[in-house]
Symmetry: C2
Subunit: 248 residues, 2 copies
């Protein structure tokens, strides 16, 4: 009988200490800027070696939850919400499923911020976008020069005034360019067909709707702008599903 591999559950001391530290902060209701006991005290009260405690602290430091300074001790800091994501979201490491999830995530978010954009956009923003569109050269097949593509969409995210949303765009953008490059032979025919059907939406088209304050048309156009990826993702998902059922 093949015993089902119990999760690689080996919860190490470090894992436990990390958890206990987080609980400790919460129970004590510590706020950003509050000091926490030094390493000797913590390791003593937790009953673990300093090295173990330091590994746990190192994790929290990476998340931006604590800051340390020699002789001044440690203080709680406001962690970056997406800081952890930044390290992980590397197209070269992530698998295809994860890449497509991120792609879908990003597209959904950009569609979702339409309302905020129309609520917040200023004449200066429109000028900035105009400038970006002006210098942006569109290659054949629905492709912009990387810089122009990045600048246009980044500007849109910034208009929301939501820093976390803007940071998210910054983090996941490399995934977009990676997917575009890696699967260009798949994307090209889709773009061709869309072009034949006259369904290609350019940045200039989007900008026009923004200027006309026409939110519904903008949203529809934006969804069309991403249509090539949606088609691609759903095709890929179908293939993957077939493979998985086939394996069984």
């Amino acid at each position: 009988m093949e015993r089902l591999k119990i999760q690689n559950n080996s919860v190490t001391l470090v894992d436990q200490v990390e958890d206990k530290l987080l609980n400790y902060f919460r129970e004590k209701d510590l706020q950003t800027g509050d000091p926490i006991p030094n390493e000797m005290e913590l390791s003593a009260s937790l009953g673990v070696a300093r090295s173990v405690l330091r590994e746990a602290l190192s994790r929290l430091k990476m998340m931006g939850m604590i800051e340390t300074r020699t002789r001044r001790g440690m203080v709680l800091t406001e962690p970056s919400i997406l800081g952890g994501m930044r390290r992980v979201v590397d197209p070269r490491i992530l698998g295809e499923d994860a890449l497509f999830d991120i792609l879908g995530f990003r597209i959904a978010l950009e569609v979702g911020i339409c309302h905020d954009i129309f609520r917040n956009i200023t004449p200066e923003d429109l000028e900035d976008l105009e400038e970006i569109v002006k210098v942006g050269i569109m290659y054949e097949n629905n492709e912009y020069a990387p810089f122009s593509e990045f600048a246009f969409h980044t500007k849109l995210y910034k208009i929301t005034g939501n820093k976390t949303i803007a940071e998210f765009q910054n983090i996941v953008h490399p995934v977009m360019t990676f997917v575009k490059d890696k699967f260009k032979e798949y994307l090209a025919p889709i773009n061709m067909r869309l072009q034949e059907e006259g369904r290609i939406v350019t940045h200039r088209d989007l900008l026009r709707y923004l200027k006309d304050d026409d939110e519904d048309s903008y949203r529809k156009a934006l969804e069309q702008h991403f249509e090539v990826y949606k088609i691609f993702i759903s095709k890929k998902n179908n293939v993957n599903r077939q493979q998985k059922t086939g394996e069984k």
Copy 2:
């Protein structure tokens, strides 16, 4: 002259090693499942003590990028994209700005997945939603019982078929409930006004549009469903801005 505090830049050895390890994985084009050298070799070739290396490895372990097993060495694993977020997104630790950012993020995302929902939704999904709505009791003032609220929206995210989006909802949901509770005295009057104007949108309303396959109405209703938070956030942001300029 007050010298401007140079960033707490003290880049420790651990920070450098963490970075070097990530670069090493990428340069070697290591994939999920590939083994990596043991601790002795790594610390030797990096020229640091094993404890330093272990702190860096501990960080990567936390991100789910590597797994370790006694005597079997270490292997690369597929990290959870939002795993880092899960630890950080704690309403008790995050500041108000961050909370509102997350709230806005979540609302935008849920609006953005409308298209995917209508593309993917099945009759079974509609039945599930019907069941959730049926048992959900709505309190006065646009408030659902926590479980019902969570179940309804979680179901919507699941329909997208995008695991990352679904996980995101799971992580940020506590922020929603926290904000709802902490700022209820601010939200109550807004809800009252909306109710007087007959602009309250219930889960049942949303479900009706889903059944009618009426995407545009659904989206508008959903935005209305979140209107109370949008109003609240923009008010809060105005107050915060005034405080900041006032401080100067």
